[in-house]
Symmetry: C2
Subunit: 359 residues, 2 copies
């Protein structure tokens, strides 16, 4: 049993203390500069305010200035800063990491190169670390359906640890795997991470269904809009598969936990779905974000990145202009403030025109 | 615009009057011997009692003894009898069909041959018709996410019409396709039908999650069991893909509307999920079926068929004994009255043992 340090004391990082503590690891939770009050609360009460749950006995919380002490002797470092803070986290890791440590990243998102190519966040994180050190550290990430509150409550969760080095990924999986926190592994680092980032975009779209129903005055009808959601789910699954392939990953990764599994859980609720709900009601994205109090909307942020990349990849001829019609429309609605008008007929390779289908 | 006759006046068959009427077809709804009161109610009030909705103007309801009159001059015949009644429906079609008519089947399920091979229901239906007539009739089926009440309410639905003859499938799709009832087509008849039948089995399993939570006294916890559902969803998607392949279909069919799309919508509720919920609480299948008043449980019936087939296919060496672990356990719980104990570690090719994973 080793020492595991978690950088970032938000809900997901803190929830991971549960399987780690169950496996007998010493868990050190280091808050960022934004987490000072969380760290103080944990020190004072043992309870994580965001999770509204007492952390496992023995978890020690550190303020950022004590990160050096926390990182000492640690075998595993969890980078639990969200997608907005990945560059910041990379700079901290550049200072704090030591050769031989293993890094496990949990932020979901992507960055775009100037030519439209997408870059996965663990590579952005590692990119901030000097080459010599970077090559002496192991890099991996968690993907798959996993809600922080459920992990903290020790509910059954099935996730995938991914990376490029099998020994690293296996060791990380072994450190976390319990009888309720099930861990599979994948060496398709790019495919896994692209699925994780893209699913936040598509889950936002799932929210449109209920919102449109309300806009049509059908809020109280017993007949919901599950067919609409399911059609978007299927189209999303097809597009996530295509994104994985486009970025050099394995399209098959979209077919299990990292793809349809994570899309399913993200579609059950959360901020991405709520903003979609408001867009479905007819609000513009700016209005919807304001209504929710301008929280961090990772799905909307990812739509901007994927949508921008899609434009550039289409210009370069890497993607056909009729491909990925749902992501194109999500981008139109979220980034370009265009009205929601779902292009059903362009889905799934295109629904045949009625006349053209006549035998 | 032609004449379309629908045999079976249950909710799904009757709901299909909506897109047909929108396209200007004359719709004739023929009740089975079990549907007498439904037909009388429609004739008296224009309203379908199961849908609690007025049918489109011009839809005419017929009692079974007038089926001959209804079938005359019809271009398209919808077989809207449920999976239990497919053999009965086949016998009626054998008497009523005329050369040149097109049949569109909507029942979801499978039958097993003695050796464990599975047979799709449209083939069971067609098998009741004499060869000479059968070959002069076109055969197709509807798959994909489609809830009767939503179709009747003209909610956006995206479905797939499948069959072996492209001209037949295209003509059927053209007759039904509207601006809200979107129809794609597939010539993977076997894959589509296997997906449609298997998803009912797996949706039952999704219900376990909430039931187990309640059994653990966590009914009122804000932390649900969506991770559990999502893990089962992902495993189900993997197994549905394998079933399609095993039966000679295209595994890719599991990746869009007929597979993950239909699984998604079926997992949002309905009797299959409710019986799973009770099993999750700890009831035996017999107790759960009694609690629900012994309704037709198509998911449970399909689990018996797939599970029986799986045993025989495993004996023959067609399937490995570690394959399809979720279907095996669904069969144990539903058909063999064994306690629910989800074999997470056997999913997805097997979670590595903790020790074995050490590099």
């Amino acid at each position: 049993m080793g020492i595991v340090v978690i950088l970032g004391s938000g809900v997901m990082g803190s929830a991971l203390a549960a399987p780690l503590a169950d496996n007998g690891h010493e868990v050190r939770l280091v808050g960022t500069h934004l987490d000072r009050e969380i760290v103080e609360a944990i020190r004072a009460t043992g309870m994580h305010p965001g999770l509204a749950r007492t952390l496992p006995a023995g978890v020690r919380a550190y303020q950022l200035e004590d990160a050096g002490e926390a990182f000492a002797e640690a075998e595993i470092v969890v980078s639990a800063v969200n997608s907005v803070g990945v560059e910041w986290a990379g700079e901290r890791l550049a200072e704090l990491l030591r050769p031989g440590q293993l890094v496990l990243a949990i932020a979901k998102g992507v960055r775009t190169e100037d030519n439209g190519d997408l870059r996965i966040l663990p590579d952005v994180l590692a990119g901030a670390v000097a080459t010599e050190l970077r090559e002496r550290v192991g890099w991996g990430a968690i993907v798959g359906p996993s809600i922080a509150g459920e992990v903290a409550a020790r509910r059954t969760s099935c996730v995938v640890f991914c990376g490029r080095d099998e020994a690293v990924v296996d060791r990380l999986a072994e450190a976390f795997r319990t009888g309720w926190y099930h861990v599979w592994t994948s060496l398709d680092f790019v495919g896994c991470e692209i699925c994780a980032a893209a699913k936040n975009c598509y889950a936002l779209g799932i929210g449109f269904a209920e919102g449109e129903l309300e806009a049509q005055g059908e809020r109280d009808s017993p007949d919901r809009a599950h067919d609409y959601e399911a059609a978007l789910f299927a189209q999303s699954a097809v597009e996530i598969r295509r994104w994985a392939q486009l970025c050099g990953g394995d399209p098959a990764t979209a077919s299990w936990l990292p793809g349809v599994g994570d899309l399913y859980v993200t579609s059950t609720g959360g901020r991405n779905v709520r903003v979609g709900h408001l867009l479905g009601q007819g609000l513009s994205f700016i209005e919807a974000a304001a209504r929710l109090g301008h929280p961090t909307l990772e799905g909307a942020a990812a739509i901007r990145v994927f949508g921008d990349a899609l434009g550039r990849l289409t210009e370069r001829g890497v993607v056909g202009e009729h491909e990925l019609p749902l992501m194109r429309h999500l981008h139109e609605v979220v980034a370009l403030e265009r009205p929601l008008e779902m292009p059903w007929g362009r889905f799934l390779g295109g629904e045949p025109a009625r006349q053209a289908a006549r035998p």
